[in-house]
Symmetry: C2
DNA sequence: AAACCAAGTTTCAAATAATGGAACCAAAAT
DNA sequence: ATTTTGGTTCCATTATTTGAAACTTGGTTT
């Protein structure tokens, strides 16, 4: 199910596989824990762990003799979040959106075949960030996931759908590819989609894709609430307002031209 | 100055060097941008970028033909922050501390030879997370940096000091190793240290290390303010309260025993 | 339109680094 | 004192990385 990464990315791919493996434990691990789950021989796993530790991608606790993900990752993520994600651009826009509609707003992007939440604003309560940004979720049963899938090009979409688990979370969870594909056509027709308690009972949302002028999917925006507080029709009424935000984010993301500091003449004598 | 990483970490080290390089631009980059600054030949840089992109560590924008740090990093960092840093443990404790003292509290750890801020609570304003966590700063002229250095073992300390730039930020910046070493002895004697406008004019702080029972440095805590609002003596009065928090964090970090889910019998027939 | 150029991509033999079985070591358990 | 478990090192074999050079592509200039 996830044996595609590292398939032909040589040593680097394998090292990152080990990194993911450590991450998957969700807690500090001993060498033997990793060895057990890894599909490489002892010495190989050992060397990878050494290397990753020396590189700061893993950290070693000498007291407990355990490895955990290293803080170099936190530093890199700081840059990643700033430069690669929509979050820093979108932050002021979704803050205002959340304040106006009075509901939780999610900003998500597609990672591999999963939804990755890059920001969340919950009006009222102070922002808890790390607990949300970086979180991943299934694509086939979340509003943002479906909104993004609806606008993928056919070939890419096929790959993404193939990797959906179609685990049944609630009675409303879309059960299979056929149901999902039908839903995606609907979304494309309307320009927005819903989560009808497909992932968590009582939780509903409207979602819109964030698209470039050329139609490439950048991410998705959703407004989430519960069945107690509101209903789908009320959420649907927010679509125009959300669309304004989504468009604004797309426009800003696209127009973000960077100071052209790369145009410095490169003299060829730069070899010294 | 930073040619130590990847020195003998083979291919993986080199790939991560490229990753850092991309991060260092702070904005999406073209292939040639990277090539220019990298010390590897064209084909090598090219393959690394391909690999990293295919691995999701970099993301490629086909419209602009640029690479940026990938969102897989955000996902990994989410785990890293949770499992490796002190932040999730410390969060409630420093929130309360910030509320009580009414000043900004920083939580930092040492990464390589730099200070890495893993959390920040500013009473009054809502918490901005990724924009702060992950930020790095110099060790020799920040309160948290000096507090941590003061408690490193001699050999480790030497390596860290060697990498300090001793750039002069203000008239109070410690100018050289001798001044720093003297200051570190002071800090060790008192159990806490100050930032006397050494990094930014008008900004002062008290800082305490977070130490394990065995005396290993886990991180540091600081309460920051400005010369307009307060003075060093007033900050010093907060030390006992801060020490409570620092000790609590250390104790919790140490006693955090993880559910013993690794003790599942590993039958050796697991080969199929 | 032809010639040119810059940026990006592919090739392939040589150089280098990764591999992994096995031996080794240390500390804890018996 | 002996065995077991968990971690570390060795080193000949093997596979991968390397990088100069050739090539392709898309955009400019003449």
């Amino acid at each position: 199910m996830s044996e595609d990464r590292s398939k032909s990315d040589g040593t680097v791919g394998k090292a990152l596989e080990i990194l993911d493996l450590v991450a998957s434990f969700g807690r500090p691990v001993r060498f033997s824990d990793v060895l057990e789950r890894a599909e490489f021989p002892k010495a190989t796993v050992y060397r990878f762990i050494q290397t990753l530790t020396s590189q700061g991608m893993l950290s070693y606790d000498p007291d407990r003799q355990t490895y955990a993900l290293g803080i170099r990752l936190v530093r890199l993520a700081h840059s990643a979040w700033q430069q690669s994600s929509l979050a820093p651009i979108a932050r002021p826009l979704i803050e205002q959106l959340a304040a106006e509609v009075g509901e939780t707003v999610h900003l998500a992007q597609l990672d591999h075949a999963q939804v990755l939440y890059v920001d969340k604003i919950d009006p009222g309560r102070p922002i808890e960030m790390y607990s949300q940004a970086g979180k991943i979720g299934p694509a086939y049963c979340t509003g943002v996931g479906k909104a993004m899938m609806a606008y993928l090009e056919t070939s890419h979409l096929a790959g993404v759908i193939e990797q959906q688990s179609f685990h049944v979370f609630t009675e409303f969870t879309l059960p299979d590819e056929a149901a999902l594909r039908a839903e995606l056509i609907d979304i494309r027709t309307n320009g927005y989609g819903f989560d009808r308690e497909e992932h968590e009972p009582g939780i509903i949302c409207v979602s819109l894709p964030i698209l470039t002028a050329r139609g490439r999917v950048l991410g998705a925006l959703s407004v989430t609430s519960s069945t107690q507080r509101t209903n789908l029709a009320a959420l649907e009424a927010l679509v125009p307002r959300i669309r304004v935000a989504a468009n604004a984010i797309a426009r800003e993301a696209e127009s973000w031209r960077f100071p052209d500091q790369s145009k410095i003449q490169t003299v060829d004598t730069a070899k010294e």
